[in-house]
């Protein structure tokens, strides 16, 4: 976060390379403004956690980054490529940016292994054997290699979400986006998914995570973003964010979710 952390820039372990940049991004659904003048920049290797009340525009923002939603004003530049209506650019960016959804969105008519090999084979034109080898590698990483030949409907929610993460990783993305990855899970399954995400963060993956899991945020985040009412209210380092937030709205939100 260029502007927000000038003091200790020298001590920052992150590189200087900015991989995601949103400049004055605006988006409307009809007359409803979903994003208002959003400015964010993410460096390679940075872990950003986005939080805020529901309807504040968090999901819309990260869905704009791989153009599942189109913004109407401003610029979004991912990995040096600006997102426009150019289909080639969009497909190029999508193959570099992995995304994990709240509702898993595994393909129910395919076995787990085929869910994982599909995109590498179709998009990266990888031979089947190589794709399967990579798929098994990532299934082992998320600790469910034994589920490879089951259908998604036969797995628990936590297992499905871990498969979804593995599916994204099979494309060997440079950036991972997580859109409330644990919100649809039963409480006892949240940890197994978060563990996988923490591990991923430890390996230096550039991540942008929309979540209400503040424990996770405290553990992995380099940067916290708080959104409310379609705009970014506060961007801060987690130690400042959780102990001494600048904005009153951030304080109120943290009080609400940390003290229930």
């Amino acid at each position: 976060m260029n502007e927000q952390q000038p003091a200790d820039a020298a001590a920052d372990p992150l590189g200087d390379e900015t991989v995601i940049q949103l400049i004055d991004v605006n988006k409307w659904y009809g007359n409803f403004q979903a994003l208002r003048d959003v400015n964010v920049s993410v460096k390679r290797g940075e872990r950003v956690v986005v939080c805020g009340p529901s309807g504040s525009g968090k999901s819309t923002m990260i869905r704009c980054i791989n153009r599942l939603e189109a913004h109407q004003k401003g610029q979004i530049i991912v990995d040096g490529i600006e997102l426009t209506d150019n289909l080639k650019n969009i497909e190029a960016i999508r193959s570099e940016v992995g995304m994990v959804f709240q509702s898993f969105n595994l393909f129910p008519h395919m076995q787990v292994i085929d869910n994982l090999t599909l995109a590498p084979m179709l998009v990266r034109k990888m031979p089947k054997a190589d794709a399967e080898a990579i798929a098994m590698k990532y299934l082992e990483r998320v600790q469910i290699p034994e589920q490879a030949y089951k259908y998604p409907g036969q797995l628990s929610g936590g297992q499905q979400q871990r498969v979804a993460i593995a599916r994204s990783l099979c494309m060997q993305p440079r950036i991972m986006l997580f859109d409330e990855p644990t919100s649809a899970l039963d409480p006892e399954m949240i940890k197994e998914v978060l563990d996988v995400m923490v591990e991923l963060a430890d390996e230096g993956m550039t991540m942008m995570v929309v979540t209400h899991e503040m424990g996770f945020a405290k553990t992995v985040a380099d940067t916290m973003i708080f959104m409310d009412d379609a705009e970014i209210v506060e961007i801060a380092k987690p130690d400042v964010f959780f102990t001494n937030p600048e904005s009153e709205r951030t304080q109120l939100f943290l009080n609400q979710i940390l003290t229930h």
Binding site: N66, L68, E91, A92, R94, S95, V97, G98, M99, F101, S103, N105, L106, F107, P108, H109, L118, A119, L122, V123, K150, Y151, G153, Q154, A164, R167, S168, M171
Partner: protein, 370 residues
Amino acid sequence: MNDTTPSAAANPRHTAPPPTERVAMLRWMRENLFNSPINSMITVIIALFLVFALPDFIQWALFQSVWSGDHEACRAATGACWAVVGEKHRPMLFGVYPYDQHWRLILALVIYLSVIAATMTPAFWKVKILMPLWIFNLIVTLILMWGGVLGLQPIETSQWGGLPLTMVLFTGTVVFGSPLAVLLALGRRSHLPGIKSICVVFIESLRGVPLITILFVAVNVFPLFLPEGLEFDKLLRVMAGMAIFFACYQAEVIRGGLQAVPRGQIEAAEALGLSYWQLMRRIVLPQALRICLPGLVNHIIAAFKNTSFVLIIGLFDILTATTAVMEDPVWRIFFVEAYLFVALIYFVFCFALSKYSQLVERWLGEGRRF
């Protein structure tokens, strides 16, 4: 239900045994046939009807019927004259196709039905197997029916008739109509306004016209617009008309299936970088087609029976061929038996299709719920 087993007594958590067959049947009757005064009344009325009508029908169809012999024997008997089927089945099944060439049609039908049977078997569901199989099937059956090569006497399509004609029309309709239906359905949901409006106009205008009109146009009006000398086979034009009509209905069924596929499926595929056609072919269509399978089969069955519309443009499918055969003054009075025979053929095909579709639904459904 006093007959608890010893093991049930020993184990308090043991579930009760299911009710015996007889009890289950009585309960089924109470729940389904006599569950309200109106239903009880309907049950009684239908039962009375069966009691009065069924014995007479069985007497007519089985015990007093004539199974072989000439029309004199039939006239002497009081029951059904099934001998008419034995006497006339060749022209009924094969129309005006030259009598001494019927073996070609029989062979073609055997090959065709074997390929259909193979196609229905999941073990053969691979493009590498089905493509060559169907190309072989089309070439061989067409050579057999058309002739003109390998020393086979050439036979014009205008002389094709009966069951093979029904099969050719039905296959052509489904094979050419189905891909068109998918394209129309996708086009109707396209974000490109030009493609979308073309598909909407195409579907809505053709759906709003009776099939007979389309066939009439294909046969009588369409050639007027062609340049002199250029002519398409009448059978081909009819088939094209039927395929387009079929596609318009089927497109709407498929659109229903497309709408039922959750938006998240498309987003997940897009997020992985799949292109529009990749995600349609691999993610959306397989799920959509499974969802709308009952509706698809419904229209396929309708298409099978719609082949009988060719009667109005002078082609002899199995039904029209039967009507023509029954002009024979000697056998004319036994037309009911002849039509019952044809009805049985239609029923066997349609019922088999319907049962098969239920099987397919079960196969596709295994372990693959959302």
